[in-house]
Symmetry: C2
């Protein structure tokens, strides 16, 4: 039996590429996005009452997997340093038999005008253009399990790295914050403090390599020196 699903919406995210995306929702509250609801679901009635919920569950497709046909029984989660293998169903890896993701995110508002409908979201971990199959209200009495034991991923990842900005990066950041990106510095700081480097770089020989990620309308470059992140460039992608 095969089940077919059509997206009800598309994510517009600050994350323009996979590298650097937090590994779950809610880790970076400044990570914002909108969920554009597609016709015929873009009617306000279908969302009546949703604004009473502070959080929603988003079911989405990991659409950017390179070879979705392939699946492997085990994966190497970054939380384990990228060396140890665990079962794919004991992980939240995007590379799974059915590439479905679930994120808990904060709902800021339901916005409708001129026949368009979108949801403003905070704390997302979703790549730009992610197809969304369903949204549901987050029900604390059913979905919140404070006593749950979490295996190898029981705790929020520690905020490990201190983040500083080079003088020019700081000037650029302040400039862009006044041009319509008011939380740019907080967003970059929180994202990079989670240390998005691939596990095999951390503590390795290539410690001073430069890294870059596309974030909002910028190319952000940084390096890690003595376990401290230094942001070295914030370049506009629009020229």
């Amino acid at each position: 039996m095969i089940y077919k699903f059509k997206p009800i919406g598309i994510i517009h995210s600050c994350f323009q590429e996979k590298f650097g995306i937090p590994r779950q929702g809610r880790l970076v509250p400044e990570a914002r996005g909108t969920l554009e609801i597609l016709p015929p679901y873009n009617c306000k009635e279908a969302f009546r009452g949703l604004e009473g919920f502070s959080h929603i569950l988003i079911t989405f497709v990991f659409h950017d997997n390179q070879s979705p046909e392939e699946w492997r029984p085990t994966v190497r989660p970054p939380r384990l340093g990228g060396n140890e293998r665990v079962g794919v169903f004991a992980s939240r890896s995007p590379f799974r038999p059915n590439p479905l993701g679930i994120s808990v995110v904060e709902l800021e508002s339901v916005d409708g005008e001129k026949g368009k409908l979108s949801l403003s979201l905070k704390g997302i971990d979703l790549l730009d253009k992610t197809p969304v199959l369903d949204i549901k209200p987050y029900l604390p009495y059913a979905d919140c399990v404070p006593e749950a034991r979490g295996g190898f991923a029981v705790k929020m990842p520690a905020t490990e790295l201190h983040v500083t900005f080079d003088q020019q990066a700081l000037i650029d950041c302040e400039h862009w914050e006044q041009q319509g990106y008011p939380e740019l510095r907080a967003l970059i700081t929180r994202l990079l403090s989670l240390d998005p480097r691939p596990a095999y770089y951390i503590g390795g020989a290539n410690r001073r390599r430069e890294f870059g990620m596309k974030l909002l309308d910028f190319d952000v470059k940084w390096k890690v020196v003595d376990e401290c992140v230094v942001v070295i460039e914030i370049r506009s992608l629009q020229g």
Copy 2:
């Protein structure tokens, strides 16, 4: 764009019909089931490390919807007495554009023998034969949001009704508890205390009508007298 998914497993549930199923996972801890993993996913490796997690997220298909092609922008959730309408995306109703469900359930064990693999589950809200598309470990740091505001469904439904057993029902129950259904009375008691009657019966003129549900291998019959449930029959479906 259409996305296609194939079940990775099938639920074997104590719930043989929709009527009476708790409206979320975890409401009735005695509600047990197993998730049979289908080939080629039934290899132990794919679940390595899962037993370290106490809870899992199950993504499943509401397979028993009568007219899956139809969707309506609003639904009448039982939590609101069945009268008030809310948007389908502000509800957990099975009748939604993509009939996908998410349940948080307790994982008791991962059991493998003779090339078969299954997960033992507690606190399920899933109909027998439900197709499962994905399972993921429940990560408290990402999935548990104690501060979430829950709209019209903020609290666990109150345990409203007191449940008693007729003399014959009690004798039958004790008999079956010794025949391999050790938690039968606790299961029936907890389920019926949640008052599974359709909203339009509650407080209505048909208060003394008999209700029945297929549970495990039994047909369970009860009525409600003065806001008190009386179990009147527990009949084996096997003859």
